[in-house]
Symmetry: C2
Subunit: 96 residues, 2 copies
Amino acid sequence: MLLLITYDVNTETSAGKSRLRKVAKQCVNYGIRVQNSVFECVVDATQAHELKFKLKELIDTEKDSLRFYNLGDKYSNRIEHYGAKSAIKVEEPLIF
Amino acid sequence: MLLLITYDVNTETSAGKSRLRKVAKQCVNYGIRVQNSVFECVVDATQAHELKFKLKELIDTEKDSLRFYNLGDKYSNRIEHYGAKSAIKVEEPLIF
């Protein structure tokens, strides 16, 4: 399935900046960054469960927002992209 | 159908900041803001076509990124949210 992950992490504090880095790092292990706070992860049910658990542990539920969208297995015709492929700066190289 | 819209607008210039405001303003007319750059719009095919056209006209395709995800009609069990409902600052009140 394609699991779409979008998040808003409050970065007003250094702790928030750290949470943001950790959330992105975790997502990179499962999929690709398509926008600053948007990841597309092709995962099975077990991986999806695992990733959701890890991300929920990382965020501050009072300050941050985390959304998951399950686009199912037949997702290619559900997605349209226009414009630039943003040059996403992540600490490590994106893992494909 | 539920049309999910995510975008990254380059705001390094005042023109970029203006594009960002316009994109958000346009999306607010069709749906609700669930995260800073994420909107969920329940629309029919005509409205979806209309909205996509308007947003494509607004962005700078060299600098900005615009993604549409069609979650179909049976979308409620495709969406999970954890954390805060971010207090989204929009110029006008959100239209429900």
